[in-house]
Amino acid sequence: MLIKRANDLRDHDVTDYALYQKRREFLKLLGGATLLSTSSPSRAGLFSNDNNDEITPFSDASSYNNFYEFGSSKSDPKRFAQSLKIKPWSVTVDGACAKAGTYNLEDLLGPQTIEERIYRLRCVEGWSMVIPWNGFPLANLLKRFEPSSKAKFVRFETLSDPAQMPQLKDELLPWPYVEGLRMDEAMHPLTLIATGMYGKHLPKQNGAPLRLVVPWKYGFKSIKSIVRISFVEQAPRTIWQKVAADEYGFYANVNPAVSHKRWSQKKERRLGEFFKRDTQAFNGYAEQVASLYKGMDLRVNF
C-alpha cells in the first residue's frame, strides 16, 4: 500500500514558508530513501511493464493538468490559473449537519495534522501519475461539522468566478464544477483533502488551496479549489453527469473491465513511460475499498 505517514509535519507549517523549506529538505531525504529502497538501479520502468510506482516529476504533475475553468488544454491551467486568488479563502458548509456555516481556510486547517500520502492518480483519459500529496483524511474534516443521519452523500463545489476563471464565460461546461461521494466513501481513510504536494503548497493549477484526492476513482472525482461542502440525502448530480451521463458515472471507480465509450480502460500510460501498463481494479486500492461496493454491479454503477 502506498501510504507513508510523516507525522512530524504539523498543520501550522502550512503558512510558514521557512518550515516549508525545511520540509522540502526532509522530503528530499525521504524521496532519496524511497528511491534507494524501491527502485531498480536504472530507470527500467521506462520500457518494462513492471509495477514500479516511481514518483512523477513535480514539473510534469504541475504542468499537465485538467482544470477546465482555466482552459481545456493540458497546458492551460498552469498558464491561466495563476490569477486565482487563494487568500482569503473560505468554505461554506451546509445541509444535513449540526455545524453549518462559512469557515475561513485557517479555521478549517487549524486542527488538522498534515501527513504525506503517495498515491497513484489515474485519469479517465488513460494516463496516470504518482503524486506525493500533503493533506489529511477528509473524514477528520467532515466529523467536525457533525453530519446528521440524513447525510447520505457529500456534495463538493469548486469556486466559479468568471472574473478569475476565463472559461466560465465560454460555457464550455455547466458550471460550477460539482462532484460528490457517498458518505462511506467520503469517510474512508484513503480519502484525502490535499493542501500541498511534493512538500510544497498546492500549485494553483493543481487545485489550491484545498482539493479532494480519491485515489481509487478517476481523477475527475478529485475536485479542486473547493468552496462548498454540502451534506445531502440524494446523490448529487455531478458536472460530468450533466455533460454525458453515459460516459462519466457517479462512482467512476477505476475499472479496467468497464470501457469508456471512446477508449478501453484496460491500460494506462504512466507519464514518463513509453508503453502502456495494465490498469488495476480500483487503481490498485481494491484491498482497501472493494468492500464498499459489495453486491453492486459495477458495470451498471460505473
Binding site: 481545456s72 494516463w127 454525458a244 462519466y248 478501453s264 500510460r269 502502456k276
Partner: protein, 204 residues
C-alpha cells in the same frame, strides 16, 4: 506565370518538399529535447494525425486553386501533398499500433470493432493505401481513365478522417478544431459541386 515550369520543378518543388518535412523534424527535435510536454507519446500521435489531415486538406485545395485562381502549376504539387498526407497517416498508425497497443493485434482489432472513431480512422487509412500505391506515373498510364475514378476515393477519405477526428473528442473536449477542419473541407468539396453544376449549366 511568374516562374517557368522548369524552375518551378527544379526549385519550388524541392523547397515545398523540405517544408513539408518540418513537422516531423520538429517532433523529432521535441523528443530529443524533451519539450513535447508531460505526455510525449500522446503528443506524437496527435500531431502526426493532425498533419495527415492538414496535408489531406491541402491536397484537396489544389484543384480549386487551379480553377479559381488559374494557378496551373499548383497541380505539380498535388501528388507530393497527397503522399505527405499518407506519410503522416502512416506514422500516426505506426505510433498507435506500437506505442499505444504494443503490437497486440487482438487489441487493435477489438479497438477497431468497438470504437466508431477508430473504425473511421482505420478505413480512412485503408482507402489511402491504393491511392499511394497508384500514385506513380507508370500506374497512372496503366490505369488510364480508371485512375481518376479510383482517386476520387479522396472524397470518402476526407469524410472518414474528419469523423475520426470529431468522434475521438469525448464529451469533455473542445470540438472547435474538428469543426474548423470540417468547415474548410465543406468549402473545398462545395467548390467541386459548384464547378460541376456550373459546367452543366453552361453546356445547356
Amino acid at each position: 506565370m511568374l516562374i517557368s515550369d522548369e524552375s518551378f520543378s527544379r526549385f519550388i518543388k524541392p523547397l515545398v518538399f523540405a517544408v513539408s518535412l518540418l513537422p516531423v523534424l520538429a517532433l523529432i527535435m521535441g523528443l530529443i529535447h524533451d519539450n513535447l510536454g508531460a505526455n510525449p507519446v500522446e503528443s506524437l500521435i496527435r500531431n502526426t494525425g493532425d498533419w495527415a489531415l492538414r496535408f489531406l486538406l491541402i491536397t484537396l485545395a489544389i484543384s480549386p486553386l487551379r480553377r479559381r485562381l488559374a494557378w496551373v502549376q499548383a497541380l505539380k504539387l498535388r501528388r507530393m501533398f497527397g503522399l505527405f498526407s499518407f506519410f503522416y497517416a502512416s506514422l500516426h498508425v505506426l505510433l498507435y499500433t506500437v506505442l499505444d497497443q504494443a503490437l497486440d493485434w487482438e487489441e487493435v482489432v477489438q479497438d477497431i470493432l468497438e470504437r466508431p472513431f477508430i473504425l473511421m480512422g482505420f478505413l480512412a487509412f485503408l482507402f489511402m493505401l491504393p491511392l499511394a500505391i497508384t500514385s506513380t506515373r507508370a500506374m497512372m498510364r496503366r490505369l488510364g481513365a480508371k485512375w481518376k475514378k479510383l482517386h476520387q476515393l479522396i472524397y470518402l477519405i476526407i469524410i472518414l478522417a474528419l469523423l475520426h477526428f470529431w468522434w475521438m473528442k469525448d464529451a469533455k473536449a473542445d470540438i472547435s478544431e474538428p469543426l474548423w477542419y470540417a468547415a474548410l473541407a465543406t468549402l473545398l468539396l462545395g467548390e467541386r459541386v459548384f464547378n460541376v453544376w456550373q459546367s452543366r449549366a453552361t453546356r445547356v
